[in-house]
Symmetry: C2
Subunit: 358 residues, 2 copies
């Protein structure tokens, strides 16, 4: 099986770092079988230890027909510092998978390995798309009425206004190209909705976004509760705030699940109640299933890279594969390249910088 660059949108060849994550091939191979079962246009190249991958691959005959293995016994550990991984990671499953995308034998890479190493290596190998200074980590979140995409979730600790504007472009192109929202609304996360509120870089970014034409529609400032309220299609923030927001949301969800379980166990009547309402409760569980929202997209790089949470099971990892396939199928990076050129050609747009989170 080889990747055909000209049919990039018809067939999506995904390079999988088979050894990454807490469980390695046991999870990554089953995940690939789930992803391929749900989309017939996905092809897989596993990078990792052939001896460890093959027994699991043997369990999924139909996956075998659409996948191949590139052997390496070198793995980047979760403890490795990004700078060390950059220097000594050559020949590792993660690095080879990234290289495959760079060389064109795959169109996207998915890994559940060391986040810092994945970001540093993919940045070095892929470089940023023209006009984009810094990649952002983006993910989709459930809201009361649907979904929203938020970025940055941790690649940059703080961002210049111009970098925030680039994130707004990256996010809107995603909402348009992948989620089919023709004019996505974009909100800047802040501590109030009035124009005078918030840090200087956020106010300056708002000023630029109100004046330029870009693929989305600038809504203005939003507050933390607007994320789940579904006020906007795209939430833009720096990586420090985005990371805290993401983890606070996870924490509150986990606490409420904990309380809910305790409540249902508290009496015989409530246990019966929970059994009767089981179908409804399972639907609720499904709606809030964090596995479904697994897949941190490294947007802004000249190559598709998706990070899965390290502790994900096969279903969760399969969602990250599907996220990568979606980005490829919808020509995400080509769309960004076209749009960012138009944004940058406008007056009042200058380049900025960001403080990197490493």
């Amino acid at each position: 099986m080889t990747a055909d660059q000209t049919s990039a949108h018809q067939v999506q060849v995904i390079a999988i770092d088979a050894m990454g994550g807490d469980f390695g091939p046991e999870v990554t191979v089953e995940a690939a079988s789930i992803a391929c079962a749900s989309s017939s246009s996905i092809r897989i190249v596993f990078f990792g230890d052939e001896v460890k991958i093959t027994p699991f691959l043997d369990l999924y005959p139909s996956l075998k027909t659409v996948s191949s293995i590139v052997h390496t016994d070198k793995v980047i550990s979760n403890e490795e510092k990004p700078s060390v991984a950059l220097r000594s990671g050559k020949g590792s499953s993660m690095r080879l998978a990234i290289d495959a995308v760079k060389e064109g034998s795959a169109q996207g890479i998915v890994s559940a390995g060391n986040t810092g190493a994945l970001m540093a290596t993919s940045k070095m190998v892929f470089k940023c798309l023209p006009g984009i200074q810094r990649p952002a980590i983006a993910s989709v979140f459930p809201t009361k009425h649907g979904e929203t995409i938020m970025l940055d979730l941790g690649a940059n600790l703080s961002c210049d206004p111009e970098v925030l504007v680039q994130f707004a472009v990256l996010g809107s192109v995603y909402a348009r190209a992948v989620k089919n929202i023709s004019k996505p609304s974009v909100g800047l996360l802040n501590v109030g909705s009035e124009a005078m509120k918030g840090p200087e870089e956020v106010r300056k970014a708002a000023d630029i976004l109100s004046h330029i034409k870009f693929p989305g529609e600038f809504y203005g400032f939003i507050e933390g509760n607007d994320i789940t309220a579904g006020t906007v299609d795209v939430v833009v923030t720096d990586g420090f705030t985005g990371n805290v927001a993401l983890k606070v949301a996870e924490g509150v969800g986990s606490m409420i699940r904990h309380f809910l379980k305790e409540a249902f166990k508290s009496s015989f009547l409530s246990m019966i109640g929970a059994i009767l309402a089981r179908g409804a409760l399972n639907r609720l569980k499904g709606r809030l299933d964090h596995r479904f929202y697994n897949g941190g997209m490294f947007l802004g790089l000249n190559g598709i890279c998706v990070k899965s949470h390290g502790g994900m099971d096969a279903y969760g990892f399969s969602q990250a594969i599907l996220v990568a396939a979606d980005l490829i199928q919808n020509g995400y990076n080509d769309n960004v390249a076209t749009e960012i050129e138009q944004v940058m050609s406008q007056e009042g747009f200058v380049t900025g910088s960001a403080v990197i989170n490493e």
Copy 2:
């Protein structure tokens, strides 16, 4: 009724801005009756329009015996800018209530009015406690296993390391003096737990907290999910991050309630289930009742000031009154004054600054 300064810890005289909030005296007076019913040592002085307050006060004969009214028909509106409120707010219900604490005829003020005006006015009138450069807004949050206090929730957009250290002192003294935790654990909110992670000011604050003696015990960095996990007793962060975290938590709670209601309504069986589990679900609702956690404490000022959410009902506002009474009864400000002097006398502690959120 007059306030007796020497019996500050036995009787708590609370000045209430009766006109503040979305509902005015209808809510603030009923709230006072709830607070006084739950604590016999609370005395109330209402500041506001006597004609509007009296009819509600007449409804609560026992409240009448422990309260008085100071008349004014001037009110600071929610739309007033803090700077304007400072200049022209003299004689308003909010300003008179603050002045009463300054002059010693009350020991704490509670208002559901304009947050910016309340912060600016109380700061100007009270000033900061010696050794404290900036006040912080603090509040108590539910966790899986109990409660935690978080600050700053929005008074300062960004903070120097030394200001974050002062917040750690303010929070630990609260946990010790009011919540009876002898050696409260203090965590700095960050995007990772490793020492090299995060913005410079957070890393510097961690460095100071690891070296000095203060009323709490420095746990290290925590992440967003640690807040509700109950990892520490005190969560310290800047006002921008704290405000986003607070509102994200509110938003996620609101979304899950919404999903839960929808789930129970989705079928006849699940409706029956919800009815059977009603007791348990009500207990859950109680545990997550944001009214119970109402009361943003302005810590670090030389005067007790508590902000109630503007849209709170009487039960919610009564909790803010009880928060103020708790701070007074436990001599919170005296405790801070003693502790901060000891902290400042240590080597390696210098003064810093913060960017104010106005």
